[in-house]
């Protein structure tokens, strides 16, 4: 066990982990933040996507030490207190989640996109979400939801 210090969703968190833990394992099994999903666990599916220093990355293949000293944002940190993030809200209103397993990762990729581009085109949304697999929805309602969220955010 080694001590790792992380800033997750604005909180300073300290946790004991084996030296070979990934960021995802630390979030899920060290800090109890099970929103980020362990899908393929080898960097293909995007279910583990979190936002580090503003950029969407795959936590399942990130050694936990690479997250030290950086801002980590997970699906648990998207809402503002009890107020859901507009992207979360629009996923609900547009029926953009079915089984829900890919949803936390897609929400993180979407928020990372909207934080740097308030009025993305449909094509930019498709490109930004191209690293997140969804086997239920066929993606169209997801793109609709992100577009609607962008409009609400004043894009």
């Amino acid at each position: 066990m080694e001590i790792v210090r992380l800033r997750v969703n604005g909180d300073e968190r300290v946790c004991g982990v084996p030296a070979h833990y990934t960021l995802l394992e630390t979030l899920r099994y060290g800090l109890g933040l099970t929103g980020s999903k362990q899908g393929c666990d080898k960097g293909d599916c995007g279910a583990c996507t979190v936002i580090v220093d503003g950029r969407a990355i795959l936590s399942c293949i990130t050694p936990v030490w690479e997250a030290e000293g950086r801002q980590v944002r997970t699906v648990e940190g998207l809402a503002d207190g009890t107020e859901t993030h507009p992207v979360q809200d629009e996923f609900d209103l547009n029926g953009a989640a079915q089984c829900g397993f890919c949803t936390p990762g897609i929400l993180c990729s979407s928020v990372a996109l909207l934080d740097r581009n308030r009025s993305p085109s449909r094509e930019e949304i498709r490109t930004a979400l191209a690293g997140n697999l969804c086997r239920c929805t066929g993606y169209e309602k997801i793109y609709d939801a992100v577009e609607a969220a962008a409009a609400r955010l004043g894009g």
Partner: protein, 342 residues
């Protein structure tokens, strides 16, 4: 769930520190990592089980993209002249997302920017670095699998076994070079800087790769790729085309990089085509100058170059996609890339 094997994680701040860490441990027991998008999945598959992993991410000297005003013509032929001419210096730690979006790269090396922007998906481009892409391990249907899968088949020539399941009888590993940026770096005449225990050395990108699928680069295990220098010149254009099953995430089934030098009136003064994802190293297509130099890059010339490329490329079953289809796509993708230059 795929666990990483146990290792110690080292975070040096300088190139010297990183090199001495790599040299300190037994051969292969320490490996460098930057974005981790290639090494970490490979470690989860037990393709590598180093006891020590040396992170390069804290080394500030390996970052940055800058234009250097050299003297001379910015030749793509390397050597002393190419090294002294105007060039772009790209730190090996720059992410693929940075490289693909950088205005200097887009302006001077459009093919390289396109290639970096077509690697995998957005998260992997945010994480993966251009240095890591150049050093990417070769890939094969029978290699990039879990320990359980490989054990069930009886392992392969590249890792832990004695048989090549692609060629059946071959004694040479034919795992495919699958990185997107190197064909462009070769076509653009780039030079790579490697730092090792004995100091630094420069090697043309064209000489960096070898035909051994087990280990297909000339980088020694205790060397680090620190910087890439790409010569730039007026009238030079480059393009990249990539064949894959989905327009995201997938590695190339075939990749084509082309770079041309053009006089003001549109006459071709030099033309290079590089194909990859077929064998263990990118292949420079031969005989292009004889066909193209001195004239314009018209439809008939493009047609002739495409046919020439088809004759030189023979895909193998190292990727589970019909090799005949991949071969049929060679002239199609070569012509598409060339049309982007014309």
């Amino acid at each position: 769930m795929l666990r990483l094997p146990a290792f110690r994680y080292h975070r040096p701040r300088t190139i010297d520190e990183a090199v001495s860490l790599l040299a300190r441990f037994d051969d292969g027991d320490a490996m460098p990592v930057a974005g981790g998008t290639d090494l970490m999945p490979n470690m989860k598959h037990r393709l590598f089980t180093p006891g020590h992993v040396v992170s390069l991410n804290g080394i500030a000297a390996m970052r940055g993209i800058v234009a250097v005003n050299g003297t001379g013509p910015g030749s793509r032929n390397g050597g002393a002249h190419g090294g002294e001419g105007p060039r772009l210096r790209i730190g090996a730690l720059q992410s693929l997302a940075d490289v693909s979006g950088h205005p200097l790269v887009r302006r001077h090396c459009a093919g390289l920017a396109e290639a970096a922007g077509l690697v995998a998906g957005p998260q992997l481009r945010n994480m993966g670095t251009i240095g890591g892409n150049v050093c990417l391990d070769t890939r094969c249907t029978y290699y990039n699998q879990t320990e359980f899968w490989r054990d069930a088949l009886g392992y392969c020539l590249k890792k832990d076994g004695t048989v090549c399941h692609v060629t059946r009888v071959g004694r040479k590993c034919v795992a495919a070079h699958s990185a997107d940026t190197p064909p462009n770096l070769i076509a653009l005449g780039a030079t790579l800087t490697l730092a090792g225990p004995g100091g630094t050395r420069e090697i043309p990108a064209a000489d960096f790769f070898v035909t051994d699928g087990i280990r297909n680069t000339r980088r020694a295990k205790d060397e680090i790729l620190t910087e890439i220098a790409v010569p730039v010149a007026e009238g030079r254009r480059s393009a990249y085309r990539k064949l894959r099953q989905r327009h995201s995430i997938d590695f190339p089934l075939l990749s084509v990089a082309v770079t041309g030098d053009f006089a003001e009136d549109g006459t071709v003064t030099g033309l290079t085509g590089v194909v990859s994802a077929l064998g263990a190293r990118p292949r420079v297509l031969a005989g292009w100058d004889a066909i193209a130099v001195g004239g314009r890059l018209g439809t008939d010339v493009i047609e002739a170059l495409g046919e020439r490329a088809r004759a030189q490329c023979r895909p193998l079953e190292n990727i589970i996609v019909d090799p005949e289809w991949r071969r049929a796509m060679v002239p199609v993708y070569v012509k598409r890339a060339l049309r982007a230059l014309a």
